[in-house]
Symmetry: C2
Amino acid sequence: MTIQILGSGSGGPFQGRNFTAQLLRVEGEVYLIDCGEGTQHQLYRFRSRYEKVKQLFISHLHGDHVFGLMGLITSFCLKNRIETLTLYGPPGLRQLVEINSTLCGVRYPYPLEVIEVDPELHQKVFESPLVEVYTLPLEHRTPCTGWLFREKPRQPNMRAEKISEYQMDYPSIRAVKAGSDLVLPDGRVIPNQELVLAPPPPASYAFCSDTAPSERVVRWLEGVHTLYHEATFTNEHLEEAAISGHSTAAQAAEIAREAGVGQLLMGHFSARYKDVSVHLEEARAVFAASYAVEEGMVYEIRKER
Amino acid sequence: MTIQILGSGSGGPFQGRNFTAQLLRVEGEVYLIDCGEGTQHQLYRFRSRYEKVKQLFISHLHGDHVFGLMGLITSFCLKNRIETLTLYGPPGLRQLVEINSTLCGVRYPYPLEVIEVDPELHQKVFESPLVEVYTLPLEHRTPCTGWLFREKPRQPNMRAEKISEYQMDYPSIRAVKAGSDLVLPDGRVIPNQELVLAPPPPASYAFCSDTAPSERVVRWLEGVHTLYHEATFTNEHLEEAAISGHSTAAQAAEIAREAGVGQLLMGHFSARYKDVSVHLEEARAVFAASYAVEEGMVYEIRKER
């Protein structure tokens, strides 16, 4: 599982930062999270292969997270897309897409679905062969949901030498990979753990933007490998963070620390900060594995074996 | 009068081209024409001073001309704008702005007006101390209007040596600048043309995008100094131009030739063309003063004296 950052800023395209959008990959599956203005430009700029996106998750309907949506789904028309695209987001998303499409004369050659989720609930809203996606109720000035991507547990791999040693056939291999011990023709029983290599632990990614620091969300983040959490402000602007429903870097780090995540990626930086060294300093004082996202970068989301 | 090109492409952000938007300046007045996705990014990138924009003219509601509008007018909120912004465009523009603003929770600290024009009429829709703006009915797949900016005639400048020679006072100067002859105390009459320098001829700029080549529009373009006309395709894709309601470079040049404009600026190039050398070649075979716009460039719009 990897995440590519397409935008790291908030408010405007200032300080060289773009609006929020991220591309999550789980092997061949590709998911887009949020879609600020210029997302299609960033995808083109970074030569990201995004044509296989089938699900797009919008956290909330503020412009810096959604004003690139119409452009992106219109550009799919020119690419002769035929595969269904499903948009997940808060109530209002369907009307937004429908009315803009009607007024701007967009006719989709591919099926476009909109699924409105309840931003007040933590529940599974999507499932593929590889991942499950859950909503994460956040606390912002408008209904806003984070997204939690959990890789499903994988089957273990066989130890190759055991297959030949015991001359195992395909049905036996399938049974062992599913957890069974192996019973040999002479009656001997070979324990499962001697036959397989443990699979990598499932990866998980939580996306929390935009939100005030929320105690409620911590329990759902426990054990998550990578937490993206907005860190719009530094301690200097703590009050402004509270008023605007945003977080400081230290508050994001405190959430990461309480939840015991593997690493924290911070973004959604206010245009007032030329660089984010203070964000990093303040976050790392609370939670060492804190990082500031960089646009174009692809971050690996997987625990070491 | 100058025009800065913010986007030169159509369809997608490909080949390094952005979506249509232009910034027109007449001394201290600033006008924005069209507002494709990423317009605010381009304004920032080129360090264009656009805060003084009070009128924004939208040709039609296709995404590549309007999907940057919500982002731009939202970003004005963050800049603490208080001055009225007036949007001109075809019917549907008001609903587009109102519904997006409601669904996305945009609250404007400045007065925002929308004036819907009739894209089937050629008429004056705006007037400032320096310019008049007229609609230009175009022929596209959706109601679409071009915009004609005409500088008002200016008063001539006084010949400085005549002021001292005849010891002219301010009321006399004002009368002469307005066209009167000068009557001296001894009764002699000095003809107006001996006292003044002719002002520069009024500049004019016509913006025609998107459109099939339209005979109807030619008469309104006569004598215009600079014509921007879309040239989405080359001759090789003449049929596609006709089907999609666009023009080839040669067709744009033919309009320029028939109208006798001073120069032709071409843009809105299809993403299929890596460069526009063929556009230039085909246009110049018809009308020599044809140019392909380049993003960021500022073009002077004024006849030589």
